[in-house]
C-alpha cells in the first residue's frame, strides 16, 4: 500500500502567482484562515444537528450512526438554510459596505453627536 501525504496533496497550490486583492496581503491571509475556520465550525454545527436528530429519534448516538445519518428532505433543507443564514451573518461587514453604496449621504456619527448636542 502506498502511503500518500494527503494533507500536502490536498493543500497543493495551483500554478501561477497568487493574486492578493486587499491593500495589505496580511488582510487576505487572515480572511482565508477565518473562512477556513468558519467552514470547520459549520462542519461541527452540521454534526451537532445530526446528533440532535438521532437523539430525537431515540437512535443511539454512535460514530457509526452519525456517519450513516441521511437527512430526510425537510432536514436537508433546514441544514442548507442554516448554512445560508450563517454565511450571511459572518459576512455582514461586506454587506454593510455594499449597502453604503446606496446611501452615500449617510451622516457621520461624530458630526451627528455634535449637531444634536449643540445648544
Amino acid at each position: 500500500m502506498t502511503i500518500l501525504d494527503i494533507n500536502a496533496l490536498a493543500n497543493a497550490k495551483a500554478k501561477g502567482k497568487r493574486p492578493y486583492f486587499f491593500d495589505d496581503p496580511a488582510v487576505e491571509r487572515v480572511l482565508s484562515i477565518t473562512m477556513a475556520v468558519a467552514g470547520e465550525l459549520a462542519v461541527t454545527r452540521e454534526r451537532l444537528d445530526t446528533i440532535e436528530r438521532l437523539l430525537e429519534a431515540g437512535t443511539p448516538v454512535t460514530k457509526a450512526n452519525i456517519n450513516a445519518f441521511k437527512p430526510d428532505d425537510d432536514a436537508a433543507r433546514a441544514r442548507q438554510a442554516w448554512h445560508a443564514e450563517y454565511i450571511s451573518r459572518i459576512l455582514r461587514i461586506v454587506h454593510q459596505e455594499l449597502e453604503s453604496l446606496q446611501s452615500e449621504g449617510d451622516v457621520n456619527p461624530e458630526a451627528l453627536a455634535d449637531e444634536i448636542s449643540a445648544a
Binding site: A12, R47, V94, L101
Partner: protein
C-alpha cells in the same frame, strides 16, 4: 379622528422571501468512482456550496454598482476619458474595498473547494482506482496513448485545479477526474445537475428537437474530459458511436469507467490532441465541443476549427457550446466581470476569446457564411435531480443576468438559454 374599520384580511402577513438554497452535496449522483464522502466531508461541501452561492447571488450582483457609482466616475475625473479596456477596469477596481472583498472571497472559495475535494479523493484514491480498473482493464473502448504531449494551454492548472487534468499521483490513476466531478458540483452551485451533464443534455435534446431527420452515426466530442457531456449525447443517440477525445489520461480513465458504470457502452475514450487527431477525413457526422475553447489558445483554437471541418462529412454538423463573444454594446463592467476568470481563475485564454467573433472564426476555418449559425438552446435539466426547494446559483450568474437583461430589450437577441455556434458542413 375616525376609527378605521377593522379588517382581518387587509393586513395579510407579507409573503416571506424565499431564500435561494443550493442543493446539498448528497444530491451529487453516486457511482462506484465517486469518492465516498464522510459525514463531515459532506458538511464541508455543504458549507462551500452555500459560500459559492452566497458570493454569486448576494455579493457579485453589487459589482456593477461599485463600478458605476465609484470606479467609473473617478477614472473619468482623473483621466478625462472612458476606460479603454478591461485591464484598466481591473486596476481601478482593485482600489475598492467592496471589490476586494468579493474578489478575495471568490478566489478563496475556489481554493477551498479544491482543498476539500482533493483531501476526500486522495484518502481513498486506491479504492476508487481499483473500482475504475474493474471497468477499464483490457477494455477496447479506452484507448490511451502515452506519446500524447499535453499542450501548454492545458497544463496551466485550469480553474485553479492543482495538477490540472493531467497530473497523476499514483501511476495510471483517476484522481483528476474524481477531483473534477466532486469540486465542479460545488463551484457550479449544482448548476450542471446531479450527473454534471446539463450542458450535454441540453445540447443532445436541442439537436434531436431541431434536427429530427439528422441521424448521426459517428460523433466526436472534442475536449471531452471525463465525458460528462458526451454521456447524454450517447444516451440520446444509442445507435451512434461516440468518440470522446481528450489529452488527459486521468480524465479519460475516469470518464470511461463512469460511462460503463452508467451502462453506456457506445463511447470510445481516446487520448489524442485535437490539432493532430488522426481520424479519416470526412468520417464524422457531428463534432461537439462543450466549454472547451476558453481552455485552449488562439492558434490551437483556430487549427482545431479547421481540423473539425476536414473531419466532417459533407452535411455533417459542427456544434460548439461556449460563452458568447462580446458584442459592440457589451458594457465595460460586464466585460470586466466576464474576463475575471482569465486573470484570477487560471483560464487565461478566456479574455481573448471574448473579443473574437465566432461566426468569423468559423468562416476563416473554411465553413461558408451560409453554413454558419448561432443559436440559444433552453437548458434541459434532468427531472427529479434535486428536491423541489433547490435553486441553483452559478458563480457566473451575475454576468449572465446582465447579459440577459440587455438581450431582453433587443428583439433580435431575445432568445434565452445556452449559447451555441456551429455550422452544417
Amino acid at each position: 379622528m375616525t376609527d378605521a374599520p377593522v379588517s382581518t384580511t387587509a393586513t395579510a402577513t407579507p409573503t416571506p422571501v424565499e431564500v435561494a438554497l443550493p442543493p446539498p452535496y448528497s444530491a451529487l449522483h453516486r457511482h462506484p468512482m465517486l469518492p465516498v464522502a464522510t459525514h463531515d466531508e459532506t458538511a464541508r461541501m455543504n458549507f462551500l456550496i452555500n459560500l459559492v452561492s452566497h458570493v454569486g447571488k448576494d455579493i457579485a450582483p453589487a459589482m456593477p454598482a461599485v463600478y458605476a457609482k465609484r470606479v467609473e466616475p473617478a477614472f473619468k475625473k482623473s483621466r478625462g476619458r472612458d476606460f479603454a479596456n478591461t485591464s484598466e477596469v481591473r486596476e481601478a477596481m482593485r482600489a475598492e474595498p467592496a471589490y476586494q472583498s468579493w474578489a478575495a472571497l471568490r478566489r478563496g472559495a475556489q481554493e477551498m473547494r479544491h482543498q476539500a475535494g482533493r483531501a476526500m479523493v486522495f484518502r481513498q484514491l486506491e479504492e476508487i482506482d481499483a473500482a475504475a480498473r474493474r471497468f477499464n482493464d483490457g477494455a477496447p473502448t479506452l484507448k490511451l496513448n502515452p506519446q500524447v504531449q499535453v499542450p501548454k494551454y492545458v497544463s496551466v492548472d485550469n480553474h485553479l485545479s492543482p495538477g490540472g487534468y493531467e497530473r497523476e499521483v499514483l501511476a495510471g490513476d483517476i484522481a483528476a477526474g474524481a477531483c473534477y466531478e466532486a469540486g465542479h458540483f460545488v463551484t457550479a452551485g449544482g448548476g450542471t445537475g446531479g450527473k454534471s451533464d446539463w450542458p450535454g443534455r441540453t445540447i443532445a435534446h436541442f439537436v434531436k428537437r431541431q434536427f429530427p431527420d439528422f441521424k448521426p452515426k459517428r460523433i466526436l466530442d472534442l475536449g471531452a474530459g471525463g465525458g460528462f457531456n458526451a454521456l447524454p449525447i450517447a444516451e440520446l443517440y444509442p445507435d451512434a458511436e461516440v468518440i470522446a477525445v481528450d489529452v488527459a489520461a486521468p480524465m479519460l480513465r475516469y470518464g470511461h469507467a463512469r460511462a460503463k458504470a452508467f451502462g453506456v457502452n457506445n463511447i470510445t475514450f481516446l487520448q489524442a490532441d485535437g490539432e493532430t487527431l488522426d481520424l479519416a477525413l470526412g468520417s464524422l457526422d457531428w463534432v461537439q465541443t462543450t466549454m472547451v475553447w476558453h481552455e485552449t489558445a488562439l492558434g490551437p483554437f483556430r487549427n482545431m476549427l479547421k481540423k473539425i471541418r476536414t473531419l466532417l462529412r459533407p452535411g455533417g454538423l459542427s456544434l460548439n457550446f461556449e460563452q458568447p463573444n462580446f458584442d459592440p454594446d457589451t458594457p465595460m463592467v460586464e466585460k470586466f466581470l466576464r474576463d475575471w476568470d482569465a486573470w484570477y481563475n487560471n483560464e487565461p485564454f478566456w479574455a481573448k476569446l471574448h473579443t473574437l467573433n465566432f461566426r468569423d472564426e468559423m468562416i476563416a476555418a473554411g465553413f461558408t457564411p451560409a453554413q454558419v449559425f448561432e443559436e440559444w438552446a433552453p437548458q434541459v435539466r434532468s427531472a427529479g435531480a434535486y428536491p423541489a426547494w433547490v435553486q441553483t446559483v452559478n458563480r457566473h450568474d451575475a454576468e449572465h443576468a446582465m447579459a440577459n437583461a440587455r438581450k431582453s430589450t433587443k428583439a433580435v437577441r431575445a432568445k434565452s438559454g445556452m449559447y451555441l455556434f456551429g455550422a452544417w458542413n
